[in-house]
Amino acid sequence: MARYSFPGRRTFRAIVIVPFMMPSIVVIIGFLSLYGKDGIIGSAFPLATSLSSGLSGIVAVNTYYNAPLIMYLVSAAIERTDPEVEQASKIFGGKRSLFIRKIIMPQTSSGVASGVILTFIYSFMGFTIPLVIGGPAYSTVEVQVYSLFYGFLDFGGAAALAAFQMLCLSALSYLYIRTFLSRAERIRPIGATRIRLAKLDFRRRPFESLAVSLYLLLISTFLFSPMVAVAYSSIHDNQNGMNSLGAYGAIFSAATRLGFSATGAILNSLFYAFMTTVGTIAVCILASYSSRRTLRRPFLYDLIISLPMTISPITIALGLYISLEPIPPFDMIWPLILCSHIMAAIPLAMRFLTSSFSRIPRELLDAASTLGSRTEGLFRVELPLIRGGLVSAAAFAFSTSLGEFAATNFLYAGRYVTMNTAIYQFLRYRMSAAASAMAMILVGFSIFSFLVFQLLGEERSLGGD
């Protein structure tokens, strides 16, 4: 599909990334209200309820989450193939199958491989999804650490298990760095980087047109049905079958009954998101700026970019918690949560910034340093030039913080409620309408950061060169 041009192509490519930017708790509510026992589809087809519980549920939600990532990586890799290479292959009379096997596949394989490993890592250290829909039988290491700590107060056991997980993740992320960072760089095309797209005209290519349309329809349904379901269940009352905005009002009373303030939760979430954005950008600029000029990427850089992949949110939270033994005082909790959010946001943000920094031609950097000092160059030349990457990184940091649940839930001690933990509380006490309504508000903010990302940022850099 990356090789065809058709109306709405850009828009479609852009919105494919939406689920990836959605908080996992929202996606879970979407699945529950679609395929749950009382869900829109689940109540009609009992078989479909397997998509919202147990092992199959976990797999379904993880698939939903990571499919866009892989699509994005692969299509970015396909688009990067040099048009001159394709022309050359045509001149040699290469058959299409040969072209795909010899040219396209080798160039995309590292994209696919890195997508696969990333997906594996994300699912391996998943917390929210198995916690909410897996149930005790299907808990991950991450969930186990959490329940050892809070359920059984077995601090040592929790720490040991977290260490074990860290080991596994280190191995995986080493693999990831090897496949992605090294290979993608070696096979960067020499010439132009945009392929010429074949125009998809129904009269000339009826089969391809139909296939692409069908594919688009399926993907869109798959990607957007959970979101629509959340919206629907937030205004639909299961008891009396009426539609109203009552649930939005009910958030407040429901929150009060559970002992927190709904407005507070929204404000807390926004506060964390804002502070995370600022903090992440500061850390990432420093890190990618300092590693930029050296010919070989320094070890420190690889460490920083892979650290949050190796250390799961719960491990971060556990580490932060233990570091303030015996029990962190209450006023230390919000900085801890902030810390954990920043660590979660760093890898992707870092990716955006380093790829933008590395796209600045060396000539411009040299020119800047013959004319003025390095700080001058950073603020007046480099940062203006990477504005797109900067906005993308900021938007992603913002949405990461908005969607962070695992570490927050571990640390928040009932005090610093965010929208995510609030939704989880609503779910636990079966206040599904309030959960949906709160989820919709969260969706609103996520869409806002998505729009910022799309309209002002650089859309092409997620797959990262």
Partner: protein, 327 residues
Amino acid sequence: MVEIELHGVSKNFGQVVALKEITLGIEDGDFMVLLGPSGCGKTTMLNIIAGLDQPTEGTIFFDGKDMADIPPHKRSVGMVFQNGGLFPHLTIEQNISYGLEARDWGQEEIEKRISEVVALTRLGSASKRYPQQVSGGQRQRAALARALAPNPKILLFDEPLSFLDARLKDELRWEIMDIQRRLILTTVYVTHDHDEAFYLSTKIVVMREGKILQIGDPREIYENPLNTFVAWFVGYNVLGPIDMRADRNAYLAVKPEDAKISLEKSSAQLTGRLVSIDYRRSSYIALVETRYGKLEAVIQEEEAEELRRYISNEVGLNLKNSKELLD
């Protein structure tokens, strides 16, 4: 005005040796061209003079002062890059003003200086535009204006004309030379184009694989190349190997204009098969295949007419001013 000295300068990039113990003096007001094929270390040398790269070993002096800890913007150098290196988010005027603002010039002085360098480089109204909106030639003028604005004492050029078309190249080449002579700036200019080197320089440094092969004024280099590589690179025919001298191959080098074709084979120094005769603007080039390799000879129009009948036949060659050179 500055005298530049390099003392035993080496540069390694990991395992790759880019420069090998270079010692070189550049005199005040020199227009020195670093000439060599790509990968010979000439750009690395320029970057080290500018302070953009640090030498792995060795020292650089400007007027006897060690430059080791002096950052590029404090070395009083102006640099023009291959693509200009103009900041795309700033207009050409803002580009020129950048170096002046960085040196804390006052607003009035900046404006005055901008109009001076814009006039000097004949940018005209293009100075109000963004780099992407002007032609390649204007972009290089703008880059020169930006480099000149802070009154540098040294001008550095990194193949600034290589992406321009031939006529524009001639024009800008002339202007660079004119400006350099008027301002009497010590200049180092990197190129792989020997025409450009002979046209611009007061001194040429021929480099290969991180080492200096020969230093001299243009005439010296062309009349007396020291080895086969220099001879070949500046346009000689290099024939051979014809002999061995102390384990090294000896070659015969001759300029195309000094090779004469003769139909009296018996008295000729060398014979070979005449392959082709081609028109080259004011003269013709005859290509002769000898047992030591191909040779080009410059011939005149009447000669060309006559020799055409002998294409594919054996002809004689007489070589004037030929030199025996070692590898």
